[in-house]
Symmetry: D2
Subunit: 126 residues, 4 copies
């Protein structure tokens, strides 16, 4: 096992996933497969691939390209992902954005926190 290869592996690095997302995705209405698809999107974008194709995604997942396409369609429809225009040099392209996902998470956390607050007050009043 040569050192250079190992250094290359270390250099690959890691992806950071907020624990809040891991704890709440189910309540946001995401399945495990959808979570993983979002994770792959996130990873691809980190590599500079802003609009991975269903084929590229299927390469890393146990889904077929058609299933990836269908899952992407659903995520777009349910409002977890959006598509934005992007200008890269002279080329006009498209890119995925996970901003809707983070907005949903924040929205969920805030309403959860408000509900807790309300419940506490009701208990105090009794």
């Amino acid at each position: 096992m040569d050192k250079e290869k190992m250094a290359e592996w270390l250099a690959q690095g890691s992806i950071a996933i907020p624990k809040l997302l891991l704890q709440h995705y189910k309540r946001l209405g995401l399945t495990e497969v959808e979570f993983m698809l979002l994770l792959h999107l996130h990873a691809f974008m980190g590599e500079g691939v802003w609009f991975p194709t269903p084929d590229e995604l299927a390469e890393r997942m146990t889904l077929t390209p058609a299933q990836c396409m269908e899952a992407l369609r659903k995520l777009l429809q349910k409002g977890f992902v959006s598509i934005e225009e992007q200008v890269d040099g002279a080329i006009l392209g498209e890119k995925y954005s996970l901003k809707p996902l983070w907005e949903k998470l924040v929205h969920h956390l805030i309403s959860e926190s408000m509900n807790e607050h309300k419940k506490e007050r009701q208990e105090e009043e009794q």
Copy 2:
């Protein structure tokens, strides 16, 4: 939205997943749901819960406790997870270990790298 709540959310932190695992889990024979189960195990252990129950896992996943149990059984059988004894103070307990997962990943990376090397040499010889 109070600041203290936001600080609490920030304090939760993130979990780091090696990109190598994300790119190769499929080839190791893991499905997306199994990957997520391992991720939850990893997160629980990071919180000091070394042997999360199927109920605790099901709380965060779209699976039922029975499905979590079945998935755990499969991961143990396929050799991605092991159970180790653990002494915590005077209490003897059990804990999950993901060491087998990392060993499988390293094994896979090494054989892949050796195959590439072999292929390169064969092409040179032709």
Copy 3:
């Protein structure tokens, strides 16, 4: 290089640092050495060492134990770290908490965002 060793290294994992903290620590009044000390505290706590000694910190840093102690004192005084009581089984101990750090960061982000907002409105009014 044996595989088991490599698997062990992979198993060590990574620590996730919010990019917001990396971009703003200077404005919060932290030096690079103080940032690193906080990072080590965070790492120790992740390993279950809730109250690392100056000696343990100095082991991993280029500071002497006395310098670590002095730096810790300053971080406590400037309100980036606090010490909390902790009950672990029957043992009453102390632990560091980074909650004050996150509160400072949130406070900074909010006032920055409010200043931007104010500036935008002033420009509109002119």
Copy 4:
């Protein structure tokens, strides 16, 4: 505090630092300030800024641009960073590479592991 701003903050994400690097940088011959400079380089590159200037680095650090330049020079000289050529579209540019850092870490880990092994054998022989 509006939700959109918070979602933006969450979207910023985190940087993952291998714990091995955090535990061994001192033995590799890095100071805390140098570690932080490497971390900033890493973060900039993750944002697509492959060759941050001393001014850009000084913006986020407590160092002056001149001190950043000097620190970069030293890291290049000590072999923790290298400069590579990069073709981006039609533009030929330069980019920093942290590959030397990972190679140094791997080299250190291997020799440490070999020393331990040697010591164990010597103790067995006695």
